[in-house]
Symmetry: C2
Subunit: 321 residues, 2 copies
């Protein structure tokens, strides 16, 4: 039986527990599992237990790690270093550690520093909600989601296999990616959106006319700013750990806004039309992609199932297995 | 029987027709109505008829306006001047003209220029979808939506009453507003969001790494950029007719982005936290407001129904009735 510890029982940690435990152990290759949970907040731990995300609550990290094969760090990004230092002496031989945070470069460096003799595989499920905490957890949060995995050239194959099995069990799809590339990409498609959403809210709600404006704001405003309601600590942690990449995307967006301003000032209808037409076309092309398809996977599927053998993995895996 | 002509059978025109015709004529104060539709596109007109948005299709503007009490211009903003010039000689005495476009200052000026005295009331239902065309029309698009109305000091009371009755019949809520204020407000809560959404899409999809990024983009990206899929002509028309107000909100948003960039460059955790905390608080406060409440209306409702008499109108109405 595989024993998994989830450290941190917020939205992601609790959803992960629910997904792992609600999978059919008879059909899943992992078979029977035991999920033990730990959170510094007793309320979070109790809520996770009530929601059946965990088999039991650990009183402390030592209890959580005793006899545990896989440790999932589901804590805010900037608390990862201190948690790694705390767990390092408690890890069983051969135990694998992973995380679920949105940035990977810093996390991989921290792991090399604080868990030098242990196996760390960086993880990032491309799924979330603007609500946070265990109450917002959902059993299908990871369904068909791409789950990024970052490893090094000498990561043991059995550790990779364990993480892949977890990803499969929760209905997500493993995608191997270099941590620097990961951070640059998610800065654009995941971090820039919450930065822009928060900027819209701060710009509009800070205006003296906001009270009158507020009544007129409807579904367009609601959806475009949805991410601004996300967890403040998470947004702050992500922004500070991925500042350079996010700043590049902010600059690219400001360039777009300046370009539109220039076109509006000139009354340049062709340029204004081009601005909105490019965005409409590009977004609609993106929407046509099948959800949860890793780069290269859609092309494989288009060839027809059974016509060619599906690759054993997607993305870039350093070293050999 | 009131005869209403809808000129332009896209998303809004068709939804308006469906809402008007599906209301219970026995219960609605307007009683029986006849809706006649006109669109330069025969396909649009036929689709609107198939969807029961109109009683019949007019072959031309003259036929649409003959014996008609209310003409709704549901055409793109920048085609309004030419349509006004075409319909001016065809209007029956006492006929009222209104529109549904997102900007009101230009439209009110065009009406003053091209239409006979006092027959025009500007309208703007605060509702929409990113899809366009009659196929995207919905019977409940205007349910509980605030419907802005702009009039001049000499607008006849019976013309105002007719527009108010239409708004009530489709389940929306009349809100009287000055056209310049209207344009400044909607530039922030309605136009800025589609500008920002399009900027995100152009910045990200224009990157050389977009192919890899695209696969990782998930619900956050989808929702934040939803408005970028909106109608290009509408976005272009709105931007050009409301350029000054939109530019002010773009500048305010760039200020927010620059502020965050500075905080990130300095590693200023307090400033970064404050940025996201302000946005989260402000958006959550906004979400707490009851939907479709006009400024002042929620306070009235909080006093308890029946305790005080509900005002006969909300917003600012110039002149007297």
């Amino acid at each position: 039986m595989i024993r998994i510890a989830i450290i941190g029982l917020g939205l992601i940690g609790t959803s992960l527990g629910i997904s792992l435990r609600s999978a059919d152990s008879k059909k899943d290759p992992m078979g029977n599992i035991e999920v033990i949970g730990f959170d510094r907040s007793t309320d979070h731990a109790k809520e996770a237990r009530v929601r059946l995300a965990i088999d039991k609550i650990a009183a402390n990290l030592a209890e959580a790690l005793k006899g545990t094969h896989l440790i999932v760090l589901a804590v805010p990004a900037r608390t990862i270093p201190s948690v790694m230092q705390e767990i390092a002496p408690l890890l069983e031989p051969g135990a694998v550690v992973t995380d679920v945070t949105s940035t990977k470069t810093d996390v991989m460096q921290w792991a090399a520093q604080y868990l030098p003799n242990n196996t760390f595989i960086g993880g990032h499920p491309m799924a979330g909600r603007e609500q946070s905490g265990p109450k917002a957890a959902a059993h299908d949060l990871f369904k068909d989601a791409i789950y990024c995995l970052c490893m090094s050239a000498n990561t043991p194959p059995e550790a990779v296999a364990l993480c892949e099995a977890v990803v499969e069990r929760i209905g997500a799809k493993s995608y191997f990616i270099d941590p620097v590339e990961h951070d640059a990409y998610v800065a654009g498609i995941s971090h820039l959106p919450f930065v822009m959403a928060s900027s819209i809210v701060n710009a509009t709600t800070g205006a003296s006319s906001w009270r009158e404006m507020a009544a007129l704001a409807a579904t367009g405003y609601r959806d475009t700013t949805r991410l601004a309601s996300g967890d403040v600590t998470m947004h702050c942690d992500i922004s500070l750990t991925n500042a350079a990449a996010i700043t590049r995307w902010i600059d690219a967006s400001i360039d777009q806004l300046q370009h539109l301003k220039t076109a509006l000032a000139a009354g340049d209808e062709a340029a204004v039309t081009d601005f909105f037409a490019r965005a409409q076309n590009a977004r609609n092309e993106w929407l046509k992609q099948k959800p949860g398809m890793r780069p290269g996977e859609a092309e494989y599927e288009d060839l027809g199932v059974g016509m060619v053998e599906k690759p054993s993995f997607f993305g870039r895996r350093p070293g050999k297995r």
